[in-house]
């Protein structure tokens, strides 16, 4: 017999292998400071400090303590950390103690010991399954009110709204074999595989290998684990991932694993998400011990037998001196012996008529009652005694800890993720896989229904040879089919975390919820954060008994990833904040920033929206000033973001011809043409200009927004639809910087910068193209206009973008050249009546935007949209067509999205809308508020008539006259000048 040592009020078994009693760690729980040791979990350290009450339950606010020593813990759920680092609903059994750790209980008010909402427990007979559905059905509107109160009373922790200050990493791992679980079966399998030269990863959710074998008191077992670990550590073809839970198995040999990393410093990650690609996998995932359902089986001090064994032997915590063990199988007798060895009083309540190892316990001074069950646990906030029922007799037995074992359930979650369905096995009296081996996986050890330590090791070795260990399966613990005790009148919990009790399942069955999937959803059994790991099999047995059918007939529910909760931060990894999505900056970006431009996000791009004159100038004043300047003098705008696609090859002409509605094969070298691109369903896809640079080379521009989708579409046509055309398509958006020069003075500025090219109206007319040099740098000049003024778009290699911008400003100063932003660029194009994405929203046809002639003139045999663009209905005059709107009241401006009606008032809803406003601006040239809109019947029906643009959300109605969408220079004389 070993004499326990007393440290800081905590009694520790000095044979404990899992804690380092030389290193103390201070931590805080619910504001009180405690001391534990290195290696402790929060649960073991609190138990050592005699703290048994850790939490309140979800619905009834019942007092709860630690029930397990692993990741399946349903009760000891706490809030970890403080402030922005707070992580709700973490399992105290999985939290490694670290210096200064702070944890708090949750779901209680005002305190854990005195929780007002525990009054729910008194009314719990009314709070049965389906209570909310039945009670709060009527009146329907009141649900909005009930919901708030119910949500406040129920539920567990609260997530923080603050930014997560921790770092998390994501990494890909590759191996030939992934071994999940580092217990006896996993270790032996990994070693045998490594000996064959296989590249192996072995992962275990615990920080130390050994699985359940760690919790044994035998020195030989502990030595075996140490030996295997050091052998594995010495091998170069083995990687050991500890504190790493393989939480999901996915297609093609991909496994998701979450590592709780050791944080060495402020920069090291807290969580690591491993995506492991493995050709094969060995599942050595072990088994979970089941509770037995009896009265008050959730009282703090009631725990699973294996967990007590872990606390006593591994963490060295002896949480009580007077211990009752309630079992239906042999697996608890080693624990009984260990406890007797430590000087505890031990009483075993065994449901079976006789139990072979009982004699040894009796010989060592323990008590064993056969044919007996624990009907109820009794005590106030923690266990004080149990009520035992034996052969019709009832007696009370004092105790401070009750350990229970209802048998073991193999952990087959990962196999289920891959499509295997476990079924109940009548001989093993537990669920089991029908096939232990699939093409790429094999299941070994307790996960395969093998219980003996030596057999588990053997099955791991067999797996390395590709053999299954079906022959080693047996009910070697002599488990009896006892799942619940019927002699209790107290609450008997089946699912601890969701507060689902025995009568809830009976009620569900009586109300007709017969399918196990329905019972699960109606009672919420197995739907808490623990996914019912300790509850599911007992629930199936209770349902089977209630329905009077076999366990196989009841079936099982489906396990889905993740096995244990995964923080969102782990999936996000480093892709948070600025790293969430790439930022695209043009080559001129830094100039914009230095010169005070207000930047706007356009997809991933940053674009200058406007350049305020001073701090007080607002957007509206700035864009009006900028566009007035363009119309009277000259301005320049960064258009680098437009999509640029190079199309090259001997069939480039034919290819471009097929892509656009209008002809491009006839386009002369050195000329630009505006093109409209359709989809195969006949609607407009995108527009832009395309230039014939050389005989076999075209350069296409797309809208900024559609650059990626047009490229993908062209690639499809090139590689899949018309592979016979000799052409190659690729994006050159990033290779060229683009600057548009617009306004009456633009040619004068251009003349100043080109090295020695003739840019006169004759040499470079509207829709002309010139390849030349500026300061010796290659420059492509396109005579195109988005604003309606004389304009040029200059492309130079991207690296020269900012130099060109600065050079233009310098040379253009005599002509008052000024930069303008996207806001004035957009306003200029609205005045001109050009369409963009707001108009080309996928519902518009060429007829709708006034390009019907383009289609009528099209005689090409093959082009995208060739069949459906000729639908009869596209010519229906009732279709909404592009028009301009002018506000009759100069002080009233439009709102995008306004619905157009013929009447000023909406008297009755719903009303049929005539159309809607797509783009609006103030036009300085006309000194009017204008808008582009689609209206049924178009200009031919509505020209000069009055309509009303309604925006009911803001109670806004604007009286408007319908006009041509070309508000300025409808003949295009300016841009040709």
């Amino acid at each position: 017999m070993t004499e326990p040592t007393t440290v800081n009020g905590a009694v520790r078994n000095e044979k404990a292998s899992g804690v380092n009693t030389q290193k103390r760690i201070k931590f805080t729980f619910d504001g009180r400071q405690y001391t534990g040791f290195e290696g402790d979990t929060l649960a073991s350290a609190l138990l050592a400090n005699d703290v048994k009450l850790l939490a309140r339950s979800f619905k009834y606010h019942r007092p709860r303590g630690v029930i397990t020593a692993g990741s399946e813990e349903p009760n000891a759920i706490v809030e970890l950390g403080e402030g922005a680092c707070v992580e709700p609903n973490t399992r105290a059994t999985m939290i490694r103690l670290s210096d200064g750790l702070v944890a708090n209980s949750q779901n209680r008010w005002p305190s854990l010991k005195f929780d007002i909402s525990s009054i729910n427990n008194l009314f719990s007979r009314f709070l049965v399954a389906g209570f909310y559905y039945k009670t709060f059905m009527w009146p329907a509107k009141a649900w909005m009110f009930y919901e708030k109160i119910i949500r406040k009373a129920a539920g567990l922790g609260t997530a923080t709204r603050k930014f997560d200050p921790d770092r998390h990493d994501k990494l890909n791992q590759f191996c030939e074999v992934l071994v999940v679980g580092a217990g006896p079966a996993g270790l032996s399998s990994a070693l045998a595989l490594a000996a064959q030269g296989k590249n192996v990863i072995i992962a275990d959710e615990q920080p130390a290998p050994g699985g359940m074998a760690r919790y044994q008191s035998h020195d030989k077992t502990r030595q075996w684990i140490e030996e295997k670990l050091s052998q594995l550590n010495a091998l170069e073809n083995v990687r050991i991932l500890l504190s790493t839970t393989v939480f999901g198995a996915y297609d093609g040999g991909c496994y998701g694993a979450l590592e709780h990393a050791k944080q060495e410093n402020d920069y090291s990650p807290r969580l690591r998400y491993h995506r492991i690609y493995a050709e094969e996998a060995v599942f050595a995932t072990g088994a979970l011990e089941r509770p037995i359902v009896f009265g008050n089986n959730d009282l703090p001090g009631v725990m699973l037998a294996y967990a007590l064994r872990a606390y006593v032997n591994y963490y060295g915590v002896i949480p009580g001196k007077n211990i009752v063990i309630f079992t239906n199988n042999n697996s608890v007798y080693d624990l009984a012996a260990d406890l007797l060895d430590l000087g505890c009083r031990v009483t075993v309540i065994d449901s079976r008529a006789d139990s072979e190892p009982a004699g040894k316990i009796r010989d060592s001074g323990g008590l064993v009652y056969n044919n007996a069950v624990v009907a109820d646990a009794k005590g106030w906030q923690q266990i004080e005694k149990v009520s035992v029922y034996q052969k019709g007799l009832r007696f009370d037995q004092d105790c401070d800890i009750l350990a229970m074992s209802g048998g073991w359930t193999p952990t087959v979650h990962l196999q289920s993720h891959l499509g295997s369905r476990p079924i109940f096995n009548d001989e093993l009296l537990t669920i089991n896989l029908t096939e232990l081996k699939t093409e790429t996986t094999i299941t070994v050890g307790s996960a395969a229904g093998i219980w003996d330590h030596g057999d588990c090791i053997r099955s791991g070795e067999m797996a390395a040879e590709g053999e299954t260990a079906q022959s080693l399966q047996s009910n070697s613990n002599a488990t009896e089919a006892l799942y619940y005790v019927s002699q209790s009148r107290n609450k008997s919990l089946v699912d601890y975390q969701n507060d689902v009790a025995l009568p809830d399942i009976w009620l569900a069955e009586r109300e007709g919820y017969r399918s196990v999937e329905h019972v699960k959803r109606y009672t919420t059994l197995g739907m808490a954060t623990d996914q019912g790991k300790t509850a599911n099999l007992n629930a199936l047995a209770i349902l089977a008994q209630a329905r009077g059918c076999s366990m196989q007939q009841v079936g099982t529910t489906t396990f889905r990833p993740p096995y244990t909760p995964v923080a969102m931060g782990a999936y996000a990894g480093r892709s948070v904040g600025l790293h969430f999505s790439p930022v695209r900056r043009t080559a001129i970006h830094h100039w914009h920033e230095r010169n005070g431009a207000v930047m706007l996000d356009v997809g991933q791009w940053k674009r200058p929206q406007y350049y305020p004159l001073n701090e007080s100038e607002r957007l509206r004043d700035a864009y009006v000033r900028e566009m007035t300047h363009v119309r009277s003098k000259v301005g320049m705008v960064d258009v680098t973001t437009l999509g640029k696609i190079s199309i090259q090859g001997t069939d480039a002409g034919e290819f471009v011809n097929r892509v656009y509605l209008n002809r491009f094969d006839t386009l002369k070298i050195g000329k630009v043409r505006y093109g409209v691109m359709l989809r195969e369903d006949g609607f407009v896809f995108d527009d832009g200009t395309t230039t014939r640079i050389a005989e076999n080379e075209y350069m296409m521009t797309t809208t900024t927004a559609n650059a990626a989708s047009v490229l993908l579409f062209l690639e499809r046509l090139n590689q899949v639809v018309w592979p016979e055309l000799k052409v190659h398509v690729f994006s050159v958006t990033d290779q060229w910087a683009g600057i548009a020069l617009a306004g009456p003075n633009s040619r004068k500025v251009l003349e100043q910068v080109v090295d020695d090219a003739d840019v006169s109206n004759d040499a470079l007319p509207f829709m002309g193209f010139l390849e030349t040099t500026i300061c010796g740098v290659q420059a492509r000049i396109f005579r195109i206009s988005f604003s309606g003024e004389v304009a040029y778009e200059i492309n130079v290699p991207a690296d020269y973008g900012e130099s060109l911008w600065a050079y233009l400003l310098e040379k253009g100063s005599n002509f008052e050249l000024k930069p303008y932003g996207t806001e004035s660029m957009g306003a200029l194009r609205i005045e001109k009546g050009h369409v963009v994405g707001a108009e080309l929203d996928g519902r518009t046809t060429v007829q709708d935007i006034g390009f019907g002639k383009m289609l009528e003139n099209c005689k090409k045999p093959i082009f995208i949209g060739q069949y459906y663009s000729r639908r009869r209905l596209f010519n229906d005059p009732e279709r909404m067509q592009l028009v301009g709107l002018v506000s009759t009241d100069k002080t009233m401006s439009f709102k995008n999205g306004s619905q157009i009606l013929a009447e000023p008032e909406i008297t009755d809803t719903p009303v049929d809308s005539l159309g809607y406003v797509t783009s609006m601006t103030y036009s300085p040239e006309r000194d009017e508020n204008i808008a582009l809109a689609f209206i049924s019947g178009g200009l031919s029906r509505w020209e000069d008539k009055i309509v009303y643009a309604h925006f009911p959300l803001f109670k806004l109605t604007v009286e408007a006259k319908v006009v041509s969408p070309h508000f300025i220079d409808p003949q295009g004389e300016r841009l040709r000048g």
Partner: protein, 86 residues
């Protein structure tokens, strides 16, 4: 899941973009049913299926992937030009 790109070898599926049924053929005539089927109708087969995936975050090749829609098993992948009609 990983997809084998004929140019780049096996790559993570997140580098690819799913682009639908690989077996549809653009009609060579003005047949209404053929065009309707090409533009609007897609089979939703259970089992082996030929799909188009574009290696958008890689070499930008379009790849035909033969995949089982039930088990997600990938049998083979090749360039569209190498596809044989069933």
């Amino acid at each position: 899941m990983r997809i084998r790109c004929p140019y780049c070898g096996p790559r993570d599926h997140s580098e690819f973009s799913y682009e639908g049924d690989a077996t549809i053929k653009r009609p060579q005539n003005e047949d209404a049913k053929a065009w309707h089927d090409y533009v609007y109708l897609r089979a939703n087969p259970r089992g082996r299926h030929k799909e188009l995936w574009s290696h958008v975050a890689g070499c930008r090749a379009w790849v035909v992937v033969e995949r089982n829609t039930l088990t997600h098993e990938i049998y083979e992948s090749y360039l569209p030009g190498d596809m044989k009609d069933d």
